[in-house]
Amino acid sequence: MKKRGIGIASLVHPNSVRYYYDSEGSSCFVKVHDDGTVSVLSGARDMGQGALTIVAQIVAEELGVRYEDVKVADSGGTEELPDDLGAYASRSTFISGRAAQVAAADAKQKLFKVAAKMLDANPEDIVARDRKIFVKGSPEKSVNFADAVYAHMYDPKYTGHTLFLMGQSSIDVEGSEVPTRETGYGNSFCGNIFGSHVAEVEVDTETGEVRIIKQTAALDVGRVINPMGTEGQIEGAVLQGYGWTLLENMIWEEGKTLNPNFLDYRIPTVFDAPEVQVVMVESHEPQGPFGAKGVGEPGMVPVAACINNAIYNAVGVRFNELPITPEKVLKALKEKEEKDKAKKEES
């Protein structure tokens, strides 16, 4: 018989932990060209999570150009790229992303001095958007982004110089600290992301198979920089969690891995992938770029727990050991049956 159940589990996860070094640094260079295009040298490391894309979006937004106007160097070494601790602890968007925003703002602020003169307005009264720089509230009073850059570079009448335009940043996270050794007290999380998953599972009481019908993941992502990227991170994380909970079983004999291959160590295929619905709850993270948080890891965190709770809701057995294999499920169901019988006989 197939029984359905539902289970919930929540999560908190840091956007980087101040633990490795007493720093959560990142840095970035932004070069603005006189055709209005932009080159970014970022310390962010793209391992598939889309860090470079996010950096480009952030820079484009901050400078007021289009996404396609921004290039991000993706093949540089530690020699030429600005320093960054790297892509771990869900920190790329949150920290490397903000470094990019600050660098872009640095360039923008220089550019606005010129643009303000061109528009004869105050620098603080003007904004840039979609390749145009204009006075707040009166878009008709505008100058092309590229023209302003050109003026900054080659027309001394604005700054008294002819200056190439670039912005830079080197940042750390404010207010985070290394925890004490004795009590582990300290605000070591540079930022934190919260979320709650609900799993709807179907348990086959004959085969012991557990199948996720649907996984709903509500995450407090701060501000979404790219919805597709965010969904992708969470969908992928959920499947990894699913695999860890139900399928993937590392088998050791005397310390030797017996299934060191993709045939006997089973990571999920497309047929095993459950439907995942991502619900993005937007809050505002003051230290994140445009209020954004990192979502790399969180999607994985509560999966095992909410599957376990959903199984209990479906068939009344709960596991304190992973992975939850069909054999274990059958064994647990049998034990429950016997317990229930014993109970009946008592009463």
Binding site: M47, G48, Q49, G50, N226, P227, M228, G229, E231, G232, E235, G236, A237, V238, L239, Q240, N261, F262, L263, I267, T269, V270, F271, A273, E275, V276, Q277
Partner: protein, 161 residues
Amino acid sequence: MKQLISLNVNGEVCDVAVEPNKTLLEVLRNELQMTGTKEGCGGLGQCGACTVIMDGKAVNSCLVLAMDARDKEILTIEGVATGGKLHPIQQAFLDHWAIQCGFCVPGIVLSAKALFDENPHPTEDEIKTAIAGNLCRCTGYAKQKEALLAVAGRQGKEGEK
């Protein structure tokens, strides 16, 4: 000892000297420097990253001896985009963010292409069957299904978000 064979890869015939114990994957990557075809599982046919199309059928190039690839038409990822344009499958992968690290993508694109060449409007189940042998650890397959359903002119289960 090495033998001189000619392979038809992406419409170009090239002569290459190979040991009979080398697979098509090894020859593509090491002799022809076509590194778009990936090896993920150690050449045991357990991940699909090395998928190419041979005479219209998707196959694991790690399970084909180079000798057996003679007088066959081989299509690798390098030959999928033609005339300076991405193939619709590739475009869909971009538009739907069906790529993360991208290591499994060449294989999946070719598995999908083999399907679409035979059947332009496959169902979700036919699509799954076509890419079931292509492991992806990043995406959870959701966006890849979406992308391929879009190419097939169907909406995903939940449709476009």
